[in-house]
Amino acid sequence: MKTIVRAGTLLSALLIAAPAFAQDLTFWSWRQEDRAAYEQFIDTFEAANPGITVKFETFEATNYNTILSTALAGGTGPDVMMVRAYGGLENVAVAGYLEELTTESVPALANFAEPALAAESVRADGKIYAVPFASQTQLVIYNSKIFADNGIEEPQTWDDLMAASQKLKDAGIIPFANGTATAWQNETVTFGLGSSLMGKAFYDELMAGTADFTDARFTSALASVNELAQDYFPDGFIGLDYPSAQQLFSSGMAAMFVGGSYELATFKTQNRDIEMGVFAAPGKTAEDAKLVGLYFDGGYAVNAASPNKEAAITFVNYLASPEFGQAFANTLNNISTIPGVTFDNPLLAEVNDLNKSSIPYLMLAHFRYGEPSGSVLIQGEMQKLFSGETTPEAIGEALTTGLAAWYEPFKK
């Protein structure tokens, strides 16, 4: 009996003392599909930093925010975690759960692009709370074989795009696979096609507070998007949901898909033989800057209440390093936000080039901080436009007055 008690005491003493010898970090993520890759990244980190071990834990993506906020509120959160960007970040950061990151604690942050850091900052204090990990781009993906077979080049003007679509339609191919029955697809379609038509000047003025959504550049872009959708989206596209639209493209029944760069991997999984290209939807003239809609997915943050904060910061420094960024891009086929990363995959390299001429994916980046969110508004309004129940001008009015509920520059 005595031996058991002694052994027990020894064991518990060891368990209590263990953190003093090795620092155990927990790292939470919603990327269940990336587990193998992250285990590998963590092995690299642990080899270079003896004494720190990292335990990677994943949760289901749609419930991740709820699980994370509950855990943080209950004081049982992880040391390091993936957090969302923009409004999703503010939900956890404003409550004070996250450690502020500075160029002192994470020197590599100094090299990051301004919009990437803005995505992981709280607007009120401008402080950074996470190392951004990936960007996504809204653009047009096309089936390069169909384009070549029909003698179509990447369009330089909006009229080119319409002409190419007509040519495909005449050849019996659905020009665009997109459907808008799934609400969020409306936003993707609007800004994936319309960013160049709206133009950088509109974006800048909108941000400066000198323009609002009733601006003709915005409403005329919506009109053009609608015109294209009515003629060149599949029959009954307003009743076509997102998975069906993806299938239309990956099966080769449709030539183009307006969507995010994240679709590239999906299409490749659905049809291994598909060959794809990407382009930014053009503006009215060839001289208009071709803009893609750019946004950031999320970042790596440190729990402000972590008992192993020092080790956690060390780990986050690794997650901000170029070596990690390169490994991330190569293994996960994602556009890393870390400067200087190069891409093996030619499509990703092209997306990365297109990103150099971009405006932020508007509603996500700036209008998801209150209710009603700009995303909810534009999605519903575009569905109305597509079914002929509103006009672009009325949408501009609805967005501006709707957002005025919480967006200061629109309050009159």
């Binding site: 925010n65 709820t66 906020s69 509950t70 509120a73 969302r84 923009y86 409004g87 999703g88 503010e90 939900n91 956890v92 404003v94 409550a95 459907g179 808008t180 029955a181 799934t182 609400a183 969020w184 936003e187 599949p234 029959d235 009954g236 596209f237 307003i238 009743g239 076509l240 949901d241 069906s244 239309l248 998801r368 901080y369 209150g370 209710e371 009603p372 969110s373 995303s375 909810v376 999605q379 519903g380 309004e381 569905q383 109305k384 079914s387 129940e389 709707g402 509920a405």
Partner: protein, 306 residues
């Protein structure tokens, strides 16, 4: 004064009752009470801030944009309730009557009518989503093949047809349930009464309205009340077929979806608001409880004891 002593039997009963009572208290009573409590606080994400009294209730009922969202969802629930009352309970009654009269093939049809009820809601939802597919869906292809191309619609994409399409799927899914309940009620009608009617008239209509309908009143009470509760708690089918936003533009939005969106947020809005969500849940609960109580007592009053 009577003395309460723990005799063997009393102890035994207590031991059997306490665990389930604790279970109910912990997993049913406590969550309901805490939802009530949550509704009176201001929330930031999942962090509770100040006590705000009835502010959350005021917001969901009277402040835009919540006001119009609430009204829209509530209006849709009412449509769903009345539509299902006709399509599900009305049709259920007719089917039950046909089965009860043992028309040819009744045995087969009794199973066929009830079979969809056994299917999981998810399966039914995906099945009907495929039926309504604008390009390859059974509905549109059938219409086109019989020369009614102009009737082919993007069913789930239009504000005029989306909600009705989902209601049709729900009615197909659940019509077997009221049928079964009504059928059981009809089979309980004593044959002497039916023989007596036969002496008076051969009219089926008289038989239904004067004998069968009054005598299946207890079954009607059950299916009406359950339908009412079900229609105002409706979630799965619209969630899978229309999405969390009640696509297109709120035309399939119902209180269940709206509550979920408000409390837990969705892809398109970063906001989670437990206070507003709980306020909605409390309002839905009070509404359902109050009306269901009225329905039950009213319908009970017209039941006849044989």
């Amino acid at each position: 004064m009577p003395q309460f002593r723990m005799t063997g039997r009393g102890l035994w009963i207590t031991a059997l009752i306490v665990p389930p009572l604790c279970f109910v208290a912990l997993f049913i009573v406590y969550p309901i009470i805490s939802a009530f409590a949550y509704a009176f606080f201001d929330w930031q994400g999942l962090k509770r801030l100040d006590f705000v009294g009835l502010e959350n209730f005021h917001t969901v009922l009277f402040v835009e944009p919540y006001r119009s969202w609430t009204l829209n969802a509530f209006k849709n629930n009412i449509i769903v309730f009345f539509a299902l009352m006709v399509l599900q309970n009305g049709l259920g009654f007719i089917l039950a009557y046909a089965l009860w009269r043992e028309l040819p093939g009744a045995r087969f049809h009794r199973i066929a009518v009830f079979l969809p009820v056994v299917l999981s809601t998810i399966i039914v939802a995906y099945l009907f989503k495929l039926f309504y597919h604008p390009l390859f869906g059974l509905v549109n292809i059938s219409l086109k093949s019989i020369g009614l191309s102009e009737w082919a619609q993007p069913w789930l994409g239009q504000s005029g047809t989306a909600l009705w399409s989902i209601i049709a799927a729900q009615a197909w899914h659940m019509v077997g349930f009221p049928t079964l309940v009504f059928l059981a009620g009809m089979q309980r009608i004593p044959s002497e009464i039916l023989d007596a009617v036969r002496m008076e008239t051969e009219s089926e209509w008289v038989k239904i309205t004067k004998i069968v309908w009054p005598l299946v009143a207890p079954s009607a009470t059950i299916v009406f009340t359950l339908l009412f509760v079900g229609a105002f708690n409706w979630f799965e089918l619209p969630y899978i077929m229309g999405g969390l936003d009640g696509s297109p533009f709120g035309s399939t939005d119902v209180l269940g979806l709206y509550f979920y969106r408000t409390a837990f947020g969705n892809v398109s809005s970063g906001q989670q608001d437990f206070g507003l969500g709980s306020a909605l849940a409390v309002l839905i609960f009070i509404f359902i409880a109050a009306i269901a109580a009225v329905i039950t007592t009213r319908l009970r009053a017209r039941e006849i004891q044989l």
